[in-house]
Structure formats: C-alpha cells, structure tokens
C-alpha cells in the first residue's frame, strides 16, 4: 500500500494506521439546526487532489495527527500534530 510518515514514528506502512479522514467543524449541538447537524454528520468534500485529513497510528504510537495527502497520487506532502477534531 502506501508509506505514511507518522509525526512521531516516521514512515510506516499505511496498514498500521486507521484513516479517520476528513474532519469538518462541529457545530454547537445546542444551537445547530437539524439540517446543519446532519450536514456535519454526513456531507463531505471528497476532493480529488490535496486534502487535509486525520490519521490514527493504531499499531504504533496510538496518537492522532493530520496529514496533507493527494487523493489521486497518494503523495503526502506534510504531516503535523493535530487532535481528532
């Protein structure tokens, strides 16, 4: 598959990771309308090109990080620490 450079562990096989994927901003549950809330739950950009996404190093350091990956070539140009959301 592909090599993914973990922020803390360096390049590892992608099978060690869990793809959390695109994350979008969570609206305030008390203030959001049902339409806004379901948009947050279900709608995704799903770009063909560069995307910023969250990965979890499940079989390594067990920490979350952000990666900038090209979804057509699977090239990763940047990784940086980042929470789940």
């Amino acid at each position: 598959m592909i090599l993914l450079p973990c922020v803390w562990c360096g390049p590892r096989d992608a099978s060690e990771f869990q793809h959390v994927g695109e994350t979008n901003a969570r609206p305030d549950p008390a203030a959001a309308t049902p339409v806004q809330w379901r948009g947050y739950l279900y709608l995704r950009g799903n770009p063909c090109g560069w995307t910023t996404e969250t990965w979890y190093h499940r079989m390594g350091c067990r920490r979350y990080f952000k990666a900038e990956r090209h979804t057509e070539t699977n090239e990763v140009r940047a990784v940086y620490p980042g929470g789940r959301r």
Partner: protein, 454 residues
C-alpha cells in the same frame, strides 16, 4: 426541441400530451410494449454463420456523432447506469435527444471493474424490492437488447461464520421472503452439497455455521451489458460521446442551463450525474454537496481452470467473494481499501490478504495463479444505499452513491431515472433513496447486507 418538465413548473412534459399511448410504463414499472429497435444489424446465429463464412465485417455497434450545441437531456457517465438511463429514456418515454458524456471509453469505470455478481437478497424491504426489479430486468435483457449478456442464475451463497451473522442471514431471509424473493438459511451439509470444494469442517479458522442461499443470484458478463445498452440507446437516436470530459455545469437562478465539456459547451436543462466514484466532483460543479466518500475497491482474477464452482460464494467475515466465469477463471473481490482515494493502483497487500482468505475457504486452490488485479472507485454513502433523484438544483439529478453494489442495480436505476426525468417525479421504487434523506434523518441502512457481500 422538446420542453422538459421541472418540478413545480409544468404539470406534464409535452411528450405526454399525445395521450396514454405516449407512455409505455405502467404503474408497476413494467414495460407494456417495447419499441422495435432499428439496429444496423440484428445479431443471430444465422448471421454469425454467414459472416464467418464470408468474412464480412460487423457494422459498428454504435456510432460516433459530432457534439451538438444543445440536448434535451445530458447524462454524465457512460457506464451501465448512464447508458441504461439513456436507453430507457428513449425506449420507454420516447425522449431521444439525449447525450451520454464519458470521459474515457464506455464502461471504463466501475461498470467494467466490478465482479459482475447479481443478487437481490438485501436487508431492508426498500432495498429488496429495488434490486429484485433489477434482477427481473436482467433476466430478459438479452432479448430486449438483442445482445448476449450471458446471465447465469447459478445461485448465491453468503456464508455465516458467527452466531451474529447467522442471525442477520435469518433476518435477511425473512425480509426477502416477505418481498417474494427466494432466500433461505441452510446448514453446512447443504452448503457442502452446493459447493464441494468449500471447507465447511468445524476446525477451520472461521468455521462455516450456515449460509444464506439465494437461488436467483448469479453472474453476468458486465462488458456485454454496457455494450448492449450502448447499442440499444444508439439505435434509438441517443448520442454517445466518448473521450468527452465534463469540466463545468452552468447553473443560474437555481436551475441547470448547460454543461461545459472538453469538446465544447452544451445547452441543456436536464443533467443526470451517473458517475459513481467521481460523483462528488460532478455534483460539486453544480454546487450540490454529497454525502459520499470515494474509496478504491480491488479485485483479481486467476488463470482459467476446469469448472468446479457452480455458485457464487461470499464471506463477509473473510472479506471475500468468489465466482467462476464461463471461461473458468476465478474472480475474487474484497471490501474497499482502508482509506479514501481516487487512485486505481492495486496493492500487494491486498492480493496477499485476499489469497489468504480464499485459501481459508478453499484450501485446494493453493496452486492456482492470479493473473490480474485491478481497482475501481466506489462512492460510499453513510448508510450503504444509493442517492437517486432530484437535488436542490432544478434539472440536476443524481444516480450516485453506488458504493460497491452499483452494477447489479444498473437496469432498475436506468429505468427509474428515466421515469424520474420524463415525469418530473421520483417513482415509488426509488422514493426512499432521495438526497433529502440525509437532511431529514431517514437513512436506509443496508450495511448488514451490502458492506462486503456482493
């Protein structure tokens, strides 16, 4: 040019004005009178013999046309869904000023990359009814299209390796029976009789506890389905444009005005997005957000061996499905790759895992060699059901979200989307699959029957 009806604008499109005879679809969706299609050459055994003896060339199955400046309906995506929609628009509704735009060649996407398995043993009544209609259409497709699609209803086994999956099989069997679809749960002895090479012993790594046996399921030749629909649509006057990539969709005042392509602009008031893995990109051009994520799905095929497997075998636990083609090759499929991507490269990791799982089920296959692997793109929805019908943009319709189960639904989707375009209203058979279900919270959960088992 014929006016096309939009929701809330015209009650009926003008081609319905000719009286009852103009519509050839009855309320239950069955075609009453198929139009006799004027093919350049009808295919027959006699014709095959004559051409074999005289070495005469076959006429092309479909023609190339210059791109017109306007069409009544533009269908984006030249796969089984787009071509079936074009065919049924022309055959059932008399709408022939239709263009099908395909960025590669016809059937180059998911239609030519799936494992060609057909079944209707789903989990929700909506799903079962829908896919069963597709099987009915597939059954008479060869006669309708005058094209041998090689549909073999050889039966479909979904294995259960745990008590919980056996419970799901029973659930599916009961839902299926209630909808008049032939499905039943059978035990290991019966499975062994149907598939003697399957390891059903109790000491297997994942013992087979039972299976959902679905006799109407089977396999078909997927390329022939694409070519048959293309030939049928072309003979009825539909323009098929290959190597024509859509680069933009013009929307003004909430309504579709036209489509921009790599070969020029087209004015149109109806656009159908039937692009599977690329569907969110096309919808994005019209400003419609989609609840889909694109994942690659890989498959592989072995060298041909003697026929030994007469059913389709699916194991959700082992993430694998196996069938043997008429030529003897074993076709393997799996679940989607573990992360989103538009890349269609295969991976060694996939083929290693797949081979291991196949050997768990059929240890006798150790010496069989894999000759080819490939990937296709799947637009996965949160509830494993498709997204079909109108969108907030008038004139922009979708037939997407087909995930890993789109091929088997090609005919019924084409028929339903054609009806949707012609009447301006989503027919009952796809009413549950509208885009609005995601804002209304009315999801149609099919994960239990669609996630791996195809």
């Amino acid at each position: 040019m014929v006016d096309v009806a939009f929701r809330g604008e015209l009650g009926h499109p003008s081609w319905l004005a000719g009286g009852e005879g103009a519509v050839q679809v009855s309320t239950n969706g069955h075609r009453q009178a198929a139009r006799r299609i004027a093919y350049p050459a009808r295919y027959s055994a006699l014709g095959l013999l004559r051409r074999g003896l005289t070495h005469a060339n076959w006429p092309p199955a479909w023609r190339a046309h210059p791109l017109k400046g306007s069409y009544d309906v533009v269908i984006v995506g030249g796969g089984v869904h787009g071509l079936a929609a074009a065919y049924y628009l022309a055959a059932n509704h008399g709408i022939t000023d239709v263009a099908v735009l395909e960025k590669g060649y016809l059937g180059s996407g998911g239609s030519g990359r799936n494992t060609a398995i057909l079944r209707s043993n789903y989990l929700t009544p909506e799903g079962v009814r829908f896919y069963d209609r597709s099987i009915q259409l597939y059954r008479r497709l060869a006669a309708d299209l005058d094209f041998n699609v090689m549909f073999s209803q050889r039966g479909h086994l979904t294995l259960a390796h745990s008590d919980s999956s056996l419970r799901t099989m029973r659930w599916r069997a009961e839902v299926n029976k209630a909808q008049g679809v032939d499905s039943e749960v059978i035990g290991p002895a019966e499975i062994k009789r149907l598939a003697p090479f399957l390891d059903v012993s109790a000491d297997a790594r994942y013992p087979v506890l039972g299976a959902l046996w679905h006799p109407p399921g089977g396999i078909i030749r997927h390329d022939a389905v694409v070519w048959g629909y293309a030939r049928g649509a072309d003979a009825l006057g539909v323009h098929l444009h290959q190597n024509t990539e859509v680069t933009g969709i013009d929307v003004a005042e909430g309504r579709v005005r036209g489509v921009r392509t790599s070969r020029g602009d087209i004015a149109t008031r109806v656009v159908l997005n039937a692009t599977a893995g690329w569907s969110s990109l096309i919808s994005g051009m019209a400003g419609v957000a989609m609840p889909v994520q694109t994942f690659p799905l890989q498959a592989a095929v072995t060298e041909p061996v003697k026929p030994f497997l007469s059913t389709v075998i699916v194991s959700g636990t082992l993430h694998v499905y196996i069938s043997q083609t008429d030529r003897g090759e074993l076709v393997f499929g799996a679940s989607v790759d573990p992360f989103t991507s538009y890349s269609m490269r295969g991976s060694l990791e996939f083929i290693e895992g797949l081979a291991g799982h196949v050997l768990e089920l059929m240890p006798a296959l150790t010496k069989v060699r894999v000759v080819r692997q490939w990937a296709g793109l799947c637009d996965m929805t949160p509830d494993f059901s498709p997204v079909m019908g109108h969108t907030p943009v008038d004139g922009f319709l979708v037939d997407v979200g087909w995930g890993t189960y789109g091929f088997k639904a090609g005919p019924v989707s084409g028929e339903a989307m054609a009806q949707c375009i012609a009447s301006g209203q989503a027919p009952e058979i796809i009413a549950a699959f509208g885009l609005e279900r995601f804002t209304e919270g009315l999801l149609v959960g099919e994960k239990g029957a669609a996630a791996v088992g195809h």
